[in-house]
């Protein structure tokens, strides 16, 4: 487990900085993706809560 956590930390460090050029278009796309996923995950959680209830 310790080795795995160390490996994860190493991966996080290795990929800390995005290599792609952060143009306004890229930033906007990533922002839209975050909003989309947030909405979708909220819907899934909502559905899950309804199912449990």
């Amino acid at each position: 487990m310790n080795r795995l956590l160390r490996k994860v930390r190493e991966i996080n460090l290795r990929y800390r900085k995005p290599q792609i050029e952060m143009t306004p278009g890229v930033r906007l796309s990533l922002l839209a993706l975050r909003v989309y996923l947030l909405l979708l995950v909220s819907l899934i959680v909502y559905k899950f809560v309804i199912l449990l209830a």
Partner: protein, 425 residues
């Protein structure tokens, strides 16, 4: 130069081109044919039974859609020599990387369960118990990968791809009317009007044509095969041939069920096979064999997609050209996903229907992200150089991505909330 000399040199050129293609052929064909997995066969069989030949035109539209999305992974893999998971980590950082990797692992595992459901139900028709199917499939897939050569794995997979063509003679055996197919199928139309039911079926067909694991699989396969920039044109041709074949197979399934089972409610491909057996024993048998093969091909590709992705990120040896001693973690993750997914099907009372629906919902969270990353990575001139997307490719790719994201999202939402669009889910 006389006529015979010209013919001779012409023939030699063609043979050389075929030889060259056979060396490069593989990733595009395998991924596209494997796209017709157990879930895909069920969707096409149900579409044919519900709408007959009327939606053939829609399937034909899916050829360029599948091609344009998948050919981008060929360029990305051949130029950067990195799999899709690694490309996302490097391009967008650890947050998006972990999101994609964990989501991929979940989607792949759940999809693998559905492949086992398809395979066990297909062989159940012939009296094979599920435990024997699961054990046989795990043993067969182990044998395929453990020989330590990508080439052997790929050629065996291509053999299973060829078996997927079994639906073509099956469609001819039910004696469909060519006139009806051309008249009803090739003219764009919405049978019964554009209602919730039809919308659900259109979305389901798109959902089965582009799956998130396909992007990860093809890019990793291109890298593992060692394709270079100069191989990109052949890689594109391979993808085009694969997307044409996959849609052709889907159309033949549609013709089979549209001819014999029109008006019958189909819940699964194995149910369609049982119905077809009542009409023609051989056609039903072909359907069942095709379903097993589809599940097997899907399982072969999906389990590899996850293992490649993990290997890329964790830095494990992750090539089919390495044996089990050289790449123990790669094979361990391969067998772990395979055995656990197979075991789920054997659990009495396991919520298999819920799992099947859940796959479609979870896939919707990964597909848009993977497609957006793909377009952005293909526009990264620093890494892609001359193979960067041009304006026309961006317009076509962008339109396709936006349409897929929109429709697959609506599909996922309609699966979660049946009745929202009047869907039958």
């Amino acid at each position: 130069m006389n006529l015979f000399s010209r013919l001779y040199y012409g023939l030699r050129r063609v043979l050389k081109a075929i030889q060259l293609y056979l060396v490069i052929a593989g990733p595009g064909l395998v991924v596209m044919v494997a796209d017709n997995d157990a879930g895909g066969i069920t969707t096409y069989a149900a579409t044919g039974a519900k709408y007959g030949y009327h939606l053939i035109w829609f399937l034909l539209i899916l050829i360029p859609v599948a091609y344009y999305v998948q050919e981008m992974t060929v360029r990305l893999g051949a130029v950067t020599k990195r799999g899709h998971a690694e490309a996302i980590f490097e391009g967008f950082g650890a947050f998006w990387g972990w999101f994609s990797l964990i989501d991929l692992m979940l989607v792949d595992w759940l999809t693998l369960v559905t492949e086992f459901i398809g395979m066990t139900s297909a062989l159940h028709i012939f009296g094979v118990p599920p435990w024997l199917t699961v054990a046989g499939v795990v043993a067969l897939m182990g044998t395929i990968v453990l020989n330590g050569r990508y080439w052997t794995w790929e050629k065996i997979s291509l053999l299973f791809c060829a078996l997927n063509l079994i639906y073509i003679p099956g469609a001819f055996m039910v004696h469909p009317s060519l006139h009806d197919i051309l008249r009803q199928g090739l003219v764009p139309n919405f049978p019964g009007g554009f209602n919730g039911d039809l919308f659900f079926f259109l979305m389901a067909n798109i959902g089965t044509t582009i799956a998130p694991w396909m992007l990860f699989f093809q890019q990793s396969a291109v890298v593992d095969k060692g394709m270079l920039e100069k191989d990109i044109p052949w890689g594109k041709f391979d993808t085009l041939l694969g997307s044409t074949l996959t849609v052709a197979v889907a159309i033949f399934i549609l013709v089979m069920t549209g001819t014999v089972l029109l008006g019958v409610d189909i819940d699964s491909a194995s149910q369609a096979a049982e119905h077809l057996m009542k009409t023609d024993r051989y056609v039903g048998t072909f359907m069942a064999i095709g379903l097993f093969d589809a599940g097997l091909l899907g399982a072969i590709c999906i389990s590899l997609a996850s293992s490649w992705a993990f290997g890329e990120i964790f830095g494990w040896a992750h090539s089919l050209n390495q044996n089990i001693k050289e790449a123990p973690w790669f094979y361990a993750s391969y067998f772990f996903t395979l055995i656990t997914a197979g075991a789920v099907v054997l659990i009495p009372g396991a919520p298999l229907v819920l799992i099947t629906l859940f796959v479609q919902v979870i896939a919707v969270t990964l597909l848009p992200a993977a497609l957006v990353f793909l377009i952005l990575l293909l526009n990264d001139r620093k890494h892609m150089g001359d193979y960067c997307n041009g304006p026309i490719e961006n317009v076509i790719g962008g339109l396709i991505v936006v349409s897929i994201v929109l429709l697959s999202t609506l599909y996922g939402v309609s699966v979660m909330f049946p009745g929202l669009f009047g869907s039958p889910a």
